[in-house]
Point group: C2
């Protein structure tokens, strides 16, 4: 009686994997816990690399800064996700990792991890699978960014968020976005107005519903409707449920 939606190509219980990983880390190496508040950054671009951070609670975004001031949200991170992997190559973090809410991260020294891996090879497996999964996830982001129209990208964003919660064993019919329309738009490569309009259209088509209090809480009657909307956009753009 697992509560978890069974997504293809994923272990049946992601909850289990995350719990196991956290336990494994805790057992095999020193861990530094750190509480962060909304807006705090776990690390910043250019800072000397030393540690990886595993999200224990809260919601985080990864922001990539270009030299000329353009900035881009390149990833969202939930419990069990790792932060700081981009720093390994150059010994300096390449992004900012920013908390979108109060949360806790576990800092582990990278060198300590490598040393511990000699005695506990499973650590290596975990690290590699994490990085590999991250690569695949970004490939999927690029696919969405490049092939989906704005409305479908927003729908895809909502489904990604609910999937992430579902995999962590939380209720999936109701989500509270920790991001402003501007942040969502940045992440999805569009303006905040487009995000707002897309959400309004999704609500009009009853794919989502706004709760009475606040437009940041979103009720999702059935996830399948979201998925259908995304796919519908690729076949016959805008033919789905809309006014």
């Amino acid at each position: 009686m697992t509560e978890v939606t069974n997504t293809p190509n994923r272990p049946v219980s992601v909850v289990g994997r995350i719990a196991d990983t956290l336990q494994l880390l805790q057992d095999s190496m020193p861990i530094q816990r750190r509480i962060v508040r909304a807006g705090d950054s776990v690390y910043q671009v250019g800072q000397a690399f030393g540690s990886l951070y595993i999200v224990n609670s809260g919601y985080f975004k990864m922001v990539n800064l270009s030299g000329e001031g353009r900035e881009q949200v390149v990833g969202l991170y939930f419990k069990g996700d790792w932060l700081g992997l981009d720093g390994i190559a150059t010994s300096h973090y390449a992004c900012d990792a920013v908390a979108m809410d109060t949360g806790e991260v576990w800092a582990i020294r990278y060198d300590a991890l490598i040393q511990a891996a000699v005695r506990t090879p499973a650590l290596l497996t975990v690290l590699h699978e994490t990085m590999s999964r991250e690569l695949t996830r970004e490939h999927d982001s690029m696919l969405s960014l490049c092939t989906l129209p704005a409305d479908a990208r927003v729908a895809g964003f909502l489904r990604y968020w609910t999937d992430a919660l579902a995999q962590r064993g939380q209720r999936t019919d109701q989500i509270t976005l920790r991001m402003t329309r501007a942040e969502i738009g940045n992440y999805l490569g569009m303006t905040l107005e487009s995000v707002s309009r897309a959400l309004s259209r999704l609500a009009r088509g009853d794919v989502i519903r706004f709760t009475e209090k606040g437009r940041r809480d979103i009720h999702i009657p059935q996830v399948e409707a979201l998925t259908a909307f995304i796919q519908g956009a690729t076949v016959a753009p805008m033919a789905g449920a809309l006014h």
Copy 2:
């Protein structure tokens, strides 16, 4: 008097790093060489994961397929780059890796690599840095995709290609694209017509020049002009050199 452009946050000689890595692999574990021809795939999505592939020569693209038939070029790979890292997480490759020209890859078994790493820890460093660099590269792709107008994206693509060649010690003033306009467009999230027009405009502004023979060979008078064009687009869109 080094021929290599000195990009920030990168070792001075990438040529050296690549050569060292190839040598290290060759010395410490069994390698299976494999010749591929244009259009051949090194591996395909869904195929059981077992090996990583290091590009020894040629040009490769990574293609991500969605269930509903959308497809997206998510990366370009040159000598020294690794293919197959996306397969580690699920034990199945998540993309297609396709040769864009005749080339050679070195196949190494992932399990053999992990075992060899016990005696040669440098192998681990190489693997981790490679994956980390790959993550950063994709963050940069997303930044370009989301924040740059079409013309600048094409300019960025050309600069990425020339940088890759320059880092490998090849001439940088002249490049031969191994991709059709459609492939470039797919990679950059736009149509082939937009790519063609962007190239024409860049040529009109003398940022690039077409060689007399074929529109696939592109001459680049000075890379700085490309860079300036990209940055110009972010500050005052379309204010650069154009008709």
